[in-house]
């Protein structure tokens, strides 16, 4: 199947008073139709910045290179009008914090209707009836009344549903969800994830799920990309990554997840050390200062992403075989 969204060698740098700071390096990804890819990593791993770059939403001091094609449209470095024709219609995004991502003085109906009126040329009445449909689709209770409410009158989960409704308004090919559940409490998280999974299934929409929570990925993604220090360190199918992680970082990440079936008060496993500062990335493999398996070679030479049988890992000493089970 051909890729809906194809990212090649994406690099993002920020010009700061202290010099250039690389945030993302050599990021490539092919997203097939109907596929959900989870992007996992710690804060500062570059996962959000990669997709903000794809959306053309980076801060003013950022510079981008590489290519990101949505169908026939090149997204990187394209002018604002071409970008606006795609954003919201073919490519939509939902953000982390539903409390601040809705315009406070606009009614729900106006916010959902905005992209419909813009991209589809809907009239106000058409937009209203479509907005009602969408609210029902994202399972907002009492949808009729919610239409005329303001964001501050809705709860956090409700607002995230409205955000999803806005994103879905024009039936996008690709939905980028940037930590869609991070700001919500756990029960609501589960509901929103179930909703996203259902929508993806029913509409055959491709989805990118940016998160730091492997549990979220396990539930709904088909493939996983693990990022560290602005680079992809491992990618593969959910099953491969979760069952037999090859990169020590992925393995540590999995080990750090609290397990409900663990007997007694086993201490939480943390990854020692700090995530790297993108200003001063370690030489060689960025993970080597925190890696238990690191050797001198890891500090000297950056490992390349080697791809074999549908999965890739960037490590000199990948863990093969069922060491983790």
């Amino acid at each position: 199947m051909s890729a809906v969204l194809s990212i090649r060698d994406l690099a993002v740098r920020f010009a700061t008073p202290d010099g250039e700071v690389p945030a993302v390096n050599a990021f490539s990804l092919d997203l097939a139709a109907g596929e959900c890819v989870g992007i996992v990593g710690e804060s500062g791993a570059g996962k959000s910045q990669s997709f903000l770059a794809v959306m053309g939403l980076l801060a003013g001091n950022a510079s981008v290179s590489g290519s990101a094609r949505l169908g026939e449209t090149e997204l990187l470095g394209n002018d604002r009008n071409a970008l606006n024709a795609v954003r919201g219609s073919k490519l939509a995004m939902i953000f982390q914090d539903p409390m601040t991502s809705l315009t406070p003085h606009l009614r729900v109906v106006d916010q959902i209707g905005e992209s419909l009126m813009r991209h589809r040329g809907f009239t106000k009445a058409q937009a209203r009836s479509r907005a009602l449909e969408l609210l029902r689709l994202v399972q907002v209770t009492d949808a009729e009344r919610r239409l005329d409410q303001y964001p501050h009158e809705l709860s956090g989960g409700m607002r995230q549903r409205v955000m999803i409704a806005i994103a879905l308004a024009c039936d996008p090919d690709v939905l980028i969800a940037d930590e869609p559940t991070t700001a919500l409490d756990v029960t609501i998280q589960a509901q929103i994830l179930a909703l996203l999974a259902q929508l993806k299934r029913e509409r055959g929409m491709s989805m990118v799920l940016v998160t730091h929570d492997l549990g979220v990925v396990a539930g709904i993604a088909d493939r996983v990309v693990v990022m560290y220090g602005g680079r992809i360190v491992e990618h593969g199918s959910v099953k491969d990554i979760l069952v037999s992680p090859q990169h020590p970082y992925t393995r540590a990440l999995l080990a750090s997840m609290p397990r409900i079936d663990e007997v007694g008060n086993a201490p939480l496993q943390a990854i020692g050390g700090q995530p790297p500062n993108p200003r001063r990335l370690p030489t060689g493999c960025a993970f080597h200062p925190r890696c238990a398996l690191a050797t001198e070679r890891c500090a000297a030479e950056a490992p390349l992403l080697s791809v074999a049988s549908g999965r890739g890992v960037a490590c000199h000493f990948p863990i093969r075989g069922g060491e983790h089970d």
Binding site: M55, G56, L57, G60, R80, N81, L83, N84, A85, V86, R87, G88, S89, A92, M93, F95, D97, T100, S101, L102, T103, P104, H105, L106, E114, S115, R118, H119, Y150, H152, E153, M163, I166, A167, A169
Partner: protein, 290 residues
Amino acid sequence: MTELAQPSARGFWADAWRRLRRNRAAMVSASLIVVISLLAFIGPSFSPHSFDAIDWDHMAVPPGGPNDHWLGTDRLGRDLYVRTLAGVQISLQIGLLATLVSLCIGVAFGATAGYLGGRIDNLMMRFVDILYSLPYIFIVIILSTLFDRGNILVLFLAIGAVGWLTMARIVRGQTLSIKRKEFIEAALASGVGTGSILARHIVPNVIGPVIIYATLTIPQMILFESFLSFLGLGVQEPQASLGSLINEGAQEMESAVWMLLVPAGFLVTLLTCFNFLGDGLRDALDPRER
């Protein structure tokens, strides 16, 4: 007692209105403004006198005399009550219109500069700085020698040219703080164009400070107009504005003090009311910064 900025089902404007209603000084001021405005616009037509008619039998009579000139007459026997109301009318018109003009220009200019940022912002704001540093009083004098003296249009140009500068700065500052908010990013992500972002997502968000500043601009504009008229650069005879009436009154101050006190009383009352109302609005629209 501090009020928490709790989200309520009443909505922002209902909340603001509730807070404003509790502010007695602001409410009294608002009603006084309404009363004076109504008086100024319909009062003269109920009076037997016209603002420029000369009563040869009653020249320079003080208020409360045995005649129907309630607030006395000026040196030429013109009814001071009607003349003052006509003056209030002109002052209010100029104050409101000039504020409206400065509001439109200032908001459009400030929001555009703030949102586009970078070099355009720099250019636009340096232009504002240059206008700020021009000695506007000389410009008014030059303009009034080029055009007919007392041309209201010249007054507008002069007042408008300075009035919008501060508004533009305020709106630019607000825009800068709003444009990096997540909801702007979200709007961008759904493909909203620059114009709509400005008009739908940014300008309505700065409306609070804009209303406050506008209410405080009206008295400034009235004062400025009065000042120009006092200098003889504004409204010309037989038209009257509060400034020109105060000027005339000041010349008779020693023999007929009411000619000064009547228009001055109206001016002071109006200005005080607008300032109180502006203060009240600031508290009502921005409860956290009390």
